[in-house]
Symmetry: C2
Subunit: 216 residues, 2 copies
Amino acid sequence: MARGKSPTFELQRGAILQEAARLFADKGFHNASMAELAKACGVSKPLLYHYYRDKEHILFDIADSYMDQLLAIVAGVEAQDLDAEPQLAGLVMRFMEEYEHSQSQHVVLVQDVKFLQAAQEEYVVGKQRKVVAAFADAIERVEPGLKARNLAKPVAMILFGMINWTFTWLRADGHFTYADMAPVVTAILLNGVRGLLKDGGGLPGATSQQELAASR
Amino acid sequence: MARGKSPTFELQRGAILQEAARLFADKGFHNASMAELAKACGVSKPLLYHYYRDKEHILFDIADSYMDQLLAIVAGVEAQDLDAEPQLAGLVMRFMEEYEHSQSQHVVLVQDVKFLQAAQEEYVVGKQRKVVAAFADAIERVEPGLKARNLAKPVAMILFGMINWTFTWLRADGHFTYADMAPVVTAILLNGVRGLLKDGGGLPGATSQQELAASR
DNA sequence: CCTACCGATCGGTAGG
DNA sequence: CCTACCGATCGGTAGG
């Protein structure tokens, strides 16, 4: 008869996951060793293999469980049935709040997911696509004219650029905080998107582009 | 008397550099082997060590020479003595044009520079800081009010987020091109920054932030 | 005594 | 849950 797992199994696993996220984010997946991870967790290297089959499964669990967190945030904001602009602002605010406390997970997601096997990578990327679709929908509600030009998704990716890039320059202990920057990002996005469809707003084919080409 | 180096030395070195950028960007610095690089270059592994002392010097040369290219673009736009908005738009346009043709170099810069020795990393980061300062100055010229709030540099980093993140979603063969997206980014930035200092623009302390906190 | 370049193998360490 | 190891592959260099 199977004895079942120790009641502390999930706790230990979670501790390993958190330490691994920190280590992989800091040193990179291939430059971080299982021996280092074992030492950081205060356990032997073979014991790590009691909780995870191999190094790649740890990477997958970091990325997959983090995507579940982000999807839960999306669902939570959508359940509030907000108007278009507060909903988009809420998504940005909630994501940046989450990012502040998940820096390691996010860095791993961005820099190491490509090292997963194709099937596992695709599984994580599928969840990422759901998040992008939710943001694109929210953007489309704010500026419905973007839909006709298929610009909702590109604008969503531009927004993700603004907030995801914060990992390279925003420090939790720095002069500016995530709470400071979330409204700035929201303002740039909302003001920026509102002006996007006007004449001279800079859309492909508008005059500003040709002026730049001429000044080359 | 020193005979000097072969006339093809610099050509060979440049070819290795380009191939290494492609390989490191694709597989990551630590997951790419010198044997693979040698094979991709069509030379023996020992011959690589004739052109570069070790693997890390290749990484440094990729990042450092790429930063020189970006600094040259900044200098070129500044030499045009444009008005504030055309100058900022020009910087964005030129950088995205460059990015389109330097995807590998840019990915290496973003994901692998942290693996350099501290002194070499700091050298590259110093050049990055010059680029950021140039963009922050251009942003400040467009919206001088940002200076008092020390927001020029954060807004510059938000802009770099928009354009640097394109590496994760813009494909040279995709539906949208860099040439399509540069004006969109410029429009979002210019419209966004213009509205940033107005009441209700979403700056730290503005009502929108408190509303979101209340709706939590 | 230089450079250019090879096949073979070095000392160490990776994941398991 | 440990010590002790493995097959393989790493970055870098030996002799010629």
